[in-house]
Symmetry: C2
């Protein structure tokens, strides 16, 4: 479809522009026959509802206002507001007041979690020369927030306390592969302090793998090759990380479980049950601290031992990169206060008129490491305008069919604390009632990125087809293709960019994790970005001044985000038949089986991993999906009145449709990490952010564990068969309606 | 063959080691049947001569002595000895004295050439801040020659005089492609000073292309990405270029003609005819000066304008690379003394006993930019030991069949002055008498590299087969394959490394140029290297201390070089039938035609370049080559006595064999550069060092000049047909001997 999009004739662009002005439902460029025939069909809705849908969607997409987005962002980013601090509550209460001012039912929902603040941080080199790390990001005159009081110091959350002195070893990105390369050089890190650079893996993987190899401490620094001067000028001249800029961040072992380390699997209510700190499996076992490249340079310059094994290990500092160990000898001394602190989630509820027990949920966190203008406020303020759009629609008399829940989560930066504890607290209700969870986080100029459950792929494509790119007179869908083609470096990239729209699977790194991975609620992550390369992530420079200069100066992308998300919520809340597609899911699962099969041929003795049962389950799902697609077309073909007449029965069918994702849950969870229950999606145990699909099988194959791979294949096959059976039942019931 | 070599069984390695000890002729690993049957055949010699050849070759390969190599290098690199200076004569006279001491007929052969020394050099930035470049390489305690007096300052020879001030533009490597990229950014260099980095093209191309684009000055600097700290530690800790290290070098327009700019095409005898300097086509038209990265950094850091277009433009300095122009505003002021100075070639002649008018020539330059331990003395001292080996052999009563000429050239660094003027002076005799020219230059640890005329490919392979790698108990031939396999980064590299041994075509950059490109004498370049990445090229740090620490500490590779070259000379001087192969040449020429055909399809309108005549000529050559191979096998099969009986007739046939290379000369030369007369090989007009094969056709196609491409195709076809006819005649005459 994207290839067609590229060749959109000019007159068609004019039509699209016109559509924008008239707030008609936007049709996909390239669907010229449909264009002539009227608005494009929307999955789950009857044709005779489209005019009304267009009216409702025009309110949702035209209400968000750039001046308001700017004002919320200015106020909420004015002071540092890390979780557990008074300012985090102030920010939550600001949003709460706005929601209430718009007439919405909103409240603060409070949990607690272990959030140790640093009380002592020292990194120094004691040989062959001496250097004491600054550990301080300087204020700059060009950024009026950079000198704010109450900034959380540079640190990695959930590092161990400790005072270690040892020779230093450079481990590149600190991934398992990097340690394999070190082993080939004969370098061990046992008893050493490692220095890894940020990037490639999620940061928490670096100290985890270092500790597994016996390291006693870990430094993580931002090499200028990755987000510093190598890419573009540094702040304030350009958007890249300055010499003393530091990336804060959590090193909790989130691939084991996220949320409060002391309450794995249950909600961290004030006064509730907690583990002793010594029992918490997700606390890092060694001291870890992040450094700027200004502070890292003297240490790296002092390393000797072998030169790094290849260019992939070389950053952009003006030195020859050596591995060590030593003679650089380094002390890392850290102490934290290990306090349990309050979390303030802000939760808005718009009750459903027909199906109040079917919940469509959208969340974005509000806590930041410092001022957090981009991360997370750019997404949070869009959520607020989405909320105001629904408030506007409510004032016209409209009521959603299903309940809409909008949430601003606290404590995401520490380890998805607010969302995880809220969802664990409400787990039973969510397992029954949650239709879908839509997440956003940062938002900036660029194209819409979409990841999530593959049952929602067609749904997202239609939302992208019917919304407008803020910068060009084309649909969001075409803008995605255009962006990808423009960014393509190779012919293969370019060909890929022109393929039909696909969504990626979700790994981890934001608040969707508990919903999809723990509760098996169909989830989506939607956000704009990618046009601005920047290096202020988790630093004091992620500020209002920076955001409005580099990320989204006129808030056009904030408005677009609110419109895209509002459209998705509105459709999911109102659709007479829920717009899931089992055919989409089956097609993607089939690809995963193929990938794992290839991997097994490379890693396991030939013919030892039998995936026939998984393939058979995917075949069943594909067949059920086809039946469901026919049944859905037939049902919506009967028109709005017929659907309304069957509303009660449809409510029950819809429940089957969304509970199909719950069928993918395996209650025993993944091997060695029972919290992760989804059979198809999980963050990799050694990637952290990066997804492993069909993770039970895939990671067993990667670890060359044949027995476990076979066991997991049976689990995955059973899960997909459950989903197929439920999809079949839904199709049968839909066809049975009269 | 290389693939077989890799799998050489262990017992075979033992045999090879034994062969080394006994000084038997070394046979190729993998030829196990021949091993069992006796020594491998040597092209051009009868089987019954092989025992005697083994005896002679053992003297040639066992005489070179590492202690002597070290001593010559120590003495000759003790002081700066750039061409035109008194020390250059002193070095020449030292070698002359050695040759005479060994009983050889040696003399100084003096020409003259324009060699302007710098009298004023200034580079300064006058805005937005000020900086005056140091233009000085500091002495370091770890290198006892680095503080020598009489070092030639850092400069580019044949730069224009001038005093220009302009905004600066960064042009990456300064190749034509880089200017295309700048044009896409809308950046012009007209009226600007460009700063290019060393590498990728020959340095003289950079100011030439800059001037063509209207630049008024050119700075060339050594980026640490290319030979500085990015690769390894800098000197004296490691072998890479230190902060203030500078690459001197000529920017004469050598792709137009090398040698004295004032005597194009004729010998620069003292008192002879000279152009006025204003008439010389090879002098650079704008001021050019090289900088260290220490001096370049402040200038590059001050550039603004667009960030460079992609990562290929980024060096390893700790800055964001910008293109400019400005605001860095720079002054480059240079003055030279424009003197004609003397050149001292040292020429040794060993008269041939049977064919005194057939000359086998070997040369290596002796002049350096400063102390020049590696460049050129590492090769020069090996030539001296080759000479002493022949002197040793002469004392046993042996006389070569053909005349051997050994030469140490002067003034190579400036533009191949000594070799070019000597060869132009003796052009008529060389055209008639020169059988082959063998060149060497730098020599260091690594594998043997071989490039040259493809008629000599089999000849070189046999030399590599029968000589020993100095570091491992395998032949030079196997060591080449092993090295290439070890260095292979990709599966394709690795596969290529295992293909049969091939030699590359010669571009330019050393003293073979006048022989192959101007006189069409079959030529070879042979030298060891590649194991040490270094950054002291053309700097004061190319010293005895450096060489003996990093390049060839025990002179094992110097000894190997003398043995390989001595073996090649001995075989070429003594072979009853010259060991040329027209079949080898035809195979490679056929590949060139295929490449040009593909290029023409990409660059020219379809079906406009008809290469049928060239293909037909290559077919003729292949047929003649096959007949010649049979005739040669038949002739040598008759045995030594028969060959001796036919010596007079063979002398005439041999003359045809070696004059076949002269058939490839086109007396009109290449378009716009008549000095370059070889139809198959020339340095690229826009690459400088890099070869363009079938250059007349290829460069016309590259420039999309269809008419010229057709004209040049006819010339190439005629040249190859001439060679084929002569090869046929030689075959016929050989077969006709009784």
């Amino acid at each position: 479809m994207a290839a067609l999009v590229i060749r959109t004739p000019l007159h068609f662009r004019d039509v699209a522009t016109l559509a924008l002005c008239c707030a008609l439902p936007f049709t996909a460029p390239g669907r010229s026959e449909a264009q002539a025939a009227g608005p494009a069909p929307i999955r789950g809705f009857p044709q005779d509802a489209l005019a009304e849908r267009a009216r409702l969607e025009s309110v949702i997409r035209n209400t968000p206002d750039t001046a308001r987005l700017r004002e919320y962002l200015r106020v909420m980013s004015a002071e540092p507001h890390h979780a557990g601090s008074p300012m985090s509550r102030t920010v939550a209460e600001y949003a709460l007041a706005r929601f209430r001012e718009w007439g919405l039912d909103a409240r603060l929902d409070s949990n607690e979690a272990l959030m140790p603040y640093p009380v002592m941080r020292r990194v120094e080199m004691i040989a062959p020369t001496t250097y004491v790390a600054q550990l301080q990001e300087p204020a700059i005159p060009e950024d009026h927030d950079s000198g704010d009081r109450n900034q959380l110091p540079t640190f990695n959350a959930y590092s161990a306390d400790g005072d270690v002195t040892a020779d230093l070893v450079y481990v590149n990105y600190g991934t398992p592969d990097d340690y394999d390369e070190l082993a080939r050089l004969g370098i061990e890190v046992r008893g050493k302090i490692v220095i890894a650079r940020y990037g490639r893996s999620w940061r928490g993987i670096k100290p985890k793998v270092a500790a597994e190899h016996g390291a006693v401490g870990c430094i993580i620094y931002s090499d200028p090759r990755d987000d510093g001067y190598f890419g573009a000028d540094v702040y304030p001249v350009g958007p890249m990380r300055p010499e003393q800029g530091v990336q804060r961040g959590s090193v909790m072992d989130m691939p084991t479980y996220p949320g409060d380390p002391l309450t794995p699997g249950w909600g961290a209510r004030p006064g509730g049950r907690r583990l002793d700190r010594s029992e918490a499996a997700t606390l890092m076992r060694i001291p870890v601290l992040p450094l700027s490249y200004g502070d890292a340079l003297p240490l790296l310059r002092a390393l000797r031992g072998p030169v790094v094994p290849n260019d992939d290990w070389k950053g952009a500092l003006p030195i020859t990169y050596h591995v060590g160990p030593g003679p650089a000898r380094v002390r890392v001394a850290l102490q934290f206060d290990w306090q349990v602190r309050p979390l303030y989630d802000v939760v808005v509820r718009i009750p459903g008129a027909t199906y109040p027990d079917q919940w469509v949920i959208h969340g974005n966190h509000h806590d930041a490491w410092v001022n957090g203008a981009e991360d997370p406020l750019s997404g949070a303020v869009a959520l607020m305008e989405t909320a105001r759009s629904f408030a506007t629609l409510l004032r016209t008399g409209w009521r959603p069919q299903r309940t809409i829940i909008l949430a601003l989560w606290d404590g995401e930066e520490w380890g998805l604390l607010g969302s995880t504890e809220w969802a664990e607290t409400n787990a039973d209700a969510l397992r029954t009632n949650a239709v879908a969870y839509f997440n956003s986080d940062t938002n900036a100029r660029g194209r819409l990125s979409a990841s999530g459950s593959h049952t929602l792929e067609t749904f997202v494509r239609e939302v992208a087809r019917d919304t407008q790119d803020p910068a060009t007179p084309v649909s969001t869908l075409q803008a995605i293709a255009d962006f990808n083609v423009r960014r393509a470096r190779t012919a293969a990239d370019s060909a890929r960019a022109r393929e039909p729209f696909r969504i990626d699977a979700l790994g981890s790194g934001s608040d969707y994790t508990v919903f999809i991975d723990h509760l098996a609620v169909a989830s989506l992550s939607l956000g704009h970005g990618g046009a601005t390369e920047a290096g202020v992530y988790h630093s004091i420079y992620d500020s209002f001044d920076f955001y409005t200069r580099f990320f989204d100066p006129d808030f056009a992308y904030g408005r677009a985000e609110a419109g895209v998300m509002g459209t998705a919520i509105l459709r999911m809340a109102d659709a007479p038949v829920l717009p899931f597609s089992f055919s989409d899911a089956a097609r993607t699962y089939r690809r995963y089986v193929g990938e794992i099969d290839s991997l097994a041929h490379a890693r396991l003795p030939t013919d030892t991993l039998d995936l026939a049962a998984v393939r058979a389950a995917v075949d069943s799902l594909a067949a059920a999906g086809a039946r469901f697609d026919s049944a859905l077309a037939s049902a919506t073909g009967h028109g709005g009145a017929w659907l309304t007449r069957n509303a009660r029965a449809l409510g029950s069918i819809d429940r089957d449709i969304y509970l199909s994702e719950r069928d993918l849950a395996n209650e025993r969870g993944l091997p060695r990490r029972p919290w992760f229950q989804h059979a198809i999606y999980a963050p990799g145990y050694y990637t952290g952010y990066g997804v492993k699909t069909m993770p039970g099988i895939r990671e067993a194959v990667e670890q060359r564990n044949q027995a476990e791979a076979m066991e997991q294949a049976a689990i995955v096959a059973t899960a997909i068969q459950r989903m197929a059976a439920r999809a079949s039942a839904a199709a049968r019931q839909l066809m049975g309606l009269r």
